[in-house]
């Protein structure tokens, strides 16, 4: 039982990661691929934060009467990663909009066919 309590967090995170990965490789629509990529990304963030958690610890903001704090380092890394993640997502979405303009579609197989025509 304690084995499950020790590891369940990692397992569910791996499951989410794989769900995102599956969307990325199986979806044909580029917007859905971006959603899959974001799900994947969020699960990686969760992995980092789980590693920094200390049982019975508290948020790393100094307060009276609290002795154990969780590790602040993963929080810093992930905080900036989230903002950078949304910035790169925006670039990806902008590319999708341009692809739609150029090919008239955002389905992967359709614009591959059009590539062959040109």
């Amino acid at each position: 039982m304690s084995f499950i309590i020790d590891y369940y967090n990692y397992w569910i995170v791996v499951f989410l990661m794989m769900a995102g990965f599956y969307i990325v490789i199986s979806a044909n629509n580029l917007v859905k691929k971006v959603v899959g990529l974001n799900i994947f990304q969020t699960s990686v963030f969760m992995m980092y934060i789980s590693i920094g958690k200390v049982t019975n610890g508290s948020a790393p903001i100094v307060a009276e009467g609290i002795t154990t704090y969780s590790n602040p380092l993963p929080h810093v890394l992930i905080l900036t990663a989230i903002v950078v993640g949304v910035a790169t997502t925006a670039v990806g979405l902008a590319l999708i909009v341009r692809i739609k303009r150029a090919y008239g579609t955002v389905e992967e197989n359709e614009f591959k066919d059009k590539d062959d025509l040109i």
Binding site: D6, Y8, N9, Y10, I12, V14, F15, L16, M17, M18, A19, Y22, I23, I25, S26, A27, N28, N29, L30, V31, V35, G36, N38, I39, T42, F45, M46, I49, G52, K53, V54, G57, A59, P60, I61, S70, N71, P72, L73, P74, V76, I78, L79, T80, I82, V83, V84, V86, A87, T88, A90, V91, L93, A94, I96, V97, R98, K100, V106, E107
Partner: protein, 325 residues
């Protein structure tokens, strides 16, 4: 209780992710992705990462959803086909997942205080940063002071991404105020939005300057302020919003923020310290740290605000252009 809540939230997250795989209506996919972001932010709260939860709620759930909806408005709502019938992707995913789960078995147990991750540099941050930097929020200390170089790089990435989006989509021009848009028929909404937008801006300022003492800081404040203007643009139309805050001004602001950040580093070089060493900014090292952190957080806030808003303008400008027959 914490474990129970954690399990419930993770379970909901897993169900949402599974549902996203099989939905073909991309609009529903984006809605569920919004729920997914909210849920993951809740999990961050439960795992003590309040600053991260703050950022995820504002950025992941807010800005991402708005941008994805903007893209959908331009590219269409339905996914036509997908490869769910073919077995190869499933095989790849199952194999990778099995390998990763096998890998987790060698990881240290979840939440153990003796984990290697808790041993190396973290104790120093936790024990010494309140004295060395003088701020109660260790995340802000590490973000702005100990790892200031890293954060400068991240700010530059946000700036670069905004430049990338401009060059791909272009910014809307200011003088197209003739086209009326926005949610014209929703009177109640317009009144309530007018009441709320100043409150949101005030809250953004609070988050910006209270970030040293509680959850918050430049990244979150920038996003919240941008969200206020985005709300204005959504309710009253893009032309009015560009009239209030011109796109060309945003370009300047985005660059200015990075300049403030890097400039602080250069000033500390001239005052005889290392790059981004705030101790030399004032006669007292702690006061110097305070001053330095407030200035660079301001730089981060300005860049993130301008970059996020400019990215939104770029997408909304495309959508408005498509609407003109």
């Amino acid at each position: 209780m914490a474990v129970f809540i954690d399990l419930m939230l993770l379970g909901m997250l897993a169900i949402t992710a599974l549902r996203v795989i099989f939905l073909k209506d991309l609009f529903a996919v984006v809605m569920l992705f919004g729920i997914y972001s909210f849920l993951s932010a809740l999990i961050f709260v439960n795992l003590d990462a309040v600053d991260v939860a703050f950022t995820e709620a504002a950025v992941g759930a807010g800005i991402s959803t708005v941008l994805m909806l903007g893209t959908l408005a331009l590219t269409g709502r339905k996914e036509k086909t997908n490869n769910h019938k073919s077995w190869l992707p499933l095989l790849v995913v199952v194999a990778t997942g099995a390998a990763l789960i096998y890998g987790t078995l060698d990881m240290p147990p979840f939440g153990d205080p003796n984990n290697p991750a808790q041993q190396h540099v973290a104790p120093r941050y936790i024990q010494d940063s309140p004295q060395e930097v003088g701020l109660p929020n260790m995340v802000t200390s590490v973000l702005a002071s100990y790892r200031g170089f890293d954060t400068l790089g991240e700010t530059a990435v946000v700036f670069a991404a905004a430049i990338g989006v401009f060059s791909l989509l272009g910014l809307p021009k200011r003088d197209r105020a003739a086209i009326e848009s926005g949610l014209k028929s929703h009177l109640v909404l317009r009144v309530v939005a007018k009441l709320i937008i100043p409150l949101i801006l005030l809250f953004a300022l609070y988050v910006q300057f209270h970030g040293d003492y509680g959850p918050g800081g430049g990244f979150q404040a920038g996003v919240i302020a941008a969200a206020a203007i985005i709300l204005y643009a959504l309710v009253f139309g893009l032309p009015l919003a560009t009239h209030v805050l011109q796109p060309s001004l945003l370009k300047v602001l985005a660059a200015l923020g990075v300049l403030i950040y890097a400039g602080t580093g250069v000033v500390s070089l001239f005052l005889g310290g290392n790059f981004l060493d705030y101790n030399v900014l004032a006669s007292d090292p702690i006061a110097g740290q305070h001053l330095g952190i407030i200035i660079i957080e301001l730089g981060v806030g300005i860049t993130v605000f301008a970059a996020m808003l400019a990215i939104f303008y770029a997408f909304a400008g495309q959508a408005e252009r498509k609407n003109i027959p």
